[in-house]
């Protein structure tokens, strides 16, 4: 399936409209599902879907086979579009220029971001997190929730939610590299 999609993306990058129509036929239900879940509004989801496929048409040449699975590459475009829309609709606080409360590591992680074969799947590492933190990570991703929304859903202070997610991300990273 992913090979088919990768092949279609290759043809789309050459301007093949038939391939584009077929790519749309095969992938739009998933990407529309992403838009609906994050935006929770059919009209906005349809508009987002348009933007997404315009981007796919324009960016198909940037997809590098082997570096990412074609379906994940498409899903990332869809999620980014939907999240941009919802962040514009419901602004969230800026954080990345502020101090991050990260637990001191036992040892520095390897200072290399080289992508290598991951020893384990994310699912196994998620199980090492406390259940509510794992739920928060998953819901942040799937529903596109902001820190504030997550804090409300889990009924914890905003700063606690930030610490939860950030430490969870570090634990996941460390677990994946083990």
């Amino acid at each position: 399936m992913d090979e088919d999609i990768a092949g279609l993306l290759g043809r789309v990058s050459l301007g093949d409209r038939d391939a584009f129509a077929e790519l749309y036929r095969q992938t739009s239900p998933k990407l529309f599902g992403i838009c609906l879940r994050i935006l929770a509004n059919r009209g906005e989801a349809e508009e987002a879907l348009q933007e997404i496929y315009v981007k796919i048409w324009q960016r198909a040449g940037r997809f590098v086979q082997g570096q990412a699975a074609a379906s994940s590459w498409l899903a990332a475009i869809a999620r980014n579009q939907a999240i941009d829309i919802i962040r514009a609709r419901k602004p969230a606080a800026n954080v990345i220029d502020e101090a991050y409360d990260l637990a001191d590591p036992a040892a520095d992680p390897e200072k290399s971001a080289v992508v290598r074969a991951e020893g384990r799947r994310i699912d196994a590492c998620m199980e090492e997190l406390e259940k509510d933190r794992a739920d928060a990570v998953r819901r942040a991703y799937v529903e596109g929730l902001s820190y504030q929304e997550l804090a409300d859903v889990f009924a914890v202070p905003l700063n606690t939610m930030r610490t939860w997610l950030r430490r969870s991300l570090l634990k996941l990273r460390e677990c994946m590299e083990r």
């Binding site: 409209r17 129509a21 749309y24 739009s28 239900p29 529309f32 599902g33 992403i34 609906l36 879940r37 994050i38 349809e46 879907l49 348009q50 496929y53 315009v54 048409w57 570096q67 990412a68 699975a69 379906s71 994940s72 899903a75 990332a76 999240i83 941009d84 962040r87 514009a88 602004p91 969230a92 606080a93 800026n94 954080v95 990345i96 991050y100 990260l102 590591p105 520095d108 992680p109 200072k111 971001a113 080289v114 992508v115 991951e118 799947r121 994310i122 699912d123 990570v137 998953r138 942040a140 991703y141 799937v142 929730l145 902001s146 997610l165 950030r166 991300l169 570090l170 996941l172 994946m176």
Partner: protein, 239 residues
Amino acid sequence: MTTPTPEGRDFRRDEVIAGEYVLGVLSADDRRKVEARLASDRNFAAMVDRWQSNLSSFDEGYDPVVPPPRAFSAIEQRLFDTLRPEPVPSRGLWHSLALWRGLALASLAALMVMGASMAGLFEAPSTGASLIAELAGKGSAVDLVARFDPSSGRLKVTPVAANQAEQKSLELWLINGSNPAISLGVLPQTGEGEIAIPSTFRSRISAGSVLAISVEPLGGSPTGVATGPIIALGKARNL
């Protein structure tokens, strides 16, 4: 190194920011900052890619929903300016109900009479009267006034408001009755457009002829039939 250093902290912080970006929890401003850095910092971009790949198994949480058929039409229209040319035969386009409904609206718009002063611009030749058509489209991307002088064979087209993208051309079409549209040529990109009508076509422009303008790739339709959207059309009448 066994003790955390500022560099080590920054590295961990970057990993977290990359993860936060992929999760989607950041604000719009923070997302733009991350994206700006992605373009210039390959290590950081690799962190984001890795999170993207790690977390993509969460995509299984999205249930597929088939979008309505109109969604793809809208996408094709935005990307290709038109319906796909292949499945739409040229006569089909010109015979489409939507087009002729549009024509009815445009004709109403064209009822705004140009006024007798315009008639004075031309000496009515004995061979036939000058014709004028106002070409107006719904939403009015561009309005044009077309004036045809049968004696000289000159058709003068004045864009009243042209705000099309520059890399497109405006192509003028003549439609008589149910005959296929005939290309009369491509309008000059700016200012007042004047097109010399080939003598073989001159006799075909008469009161009741429909003039239409479509948006085409630079230089005009590659196929000889209109491929782009009809942005304006109107019926010629005696001046």
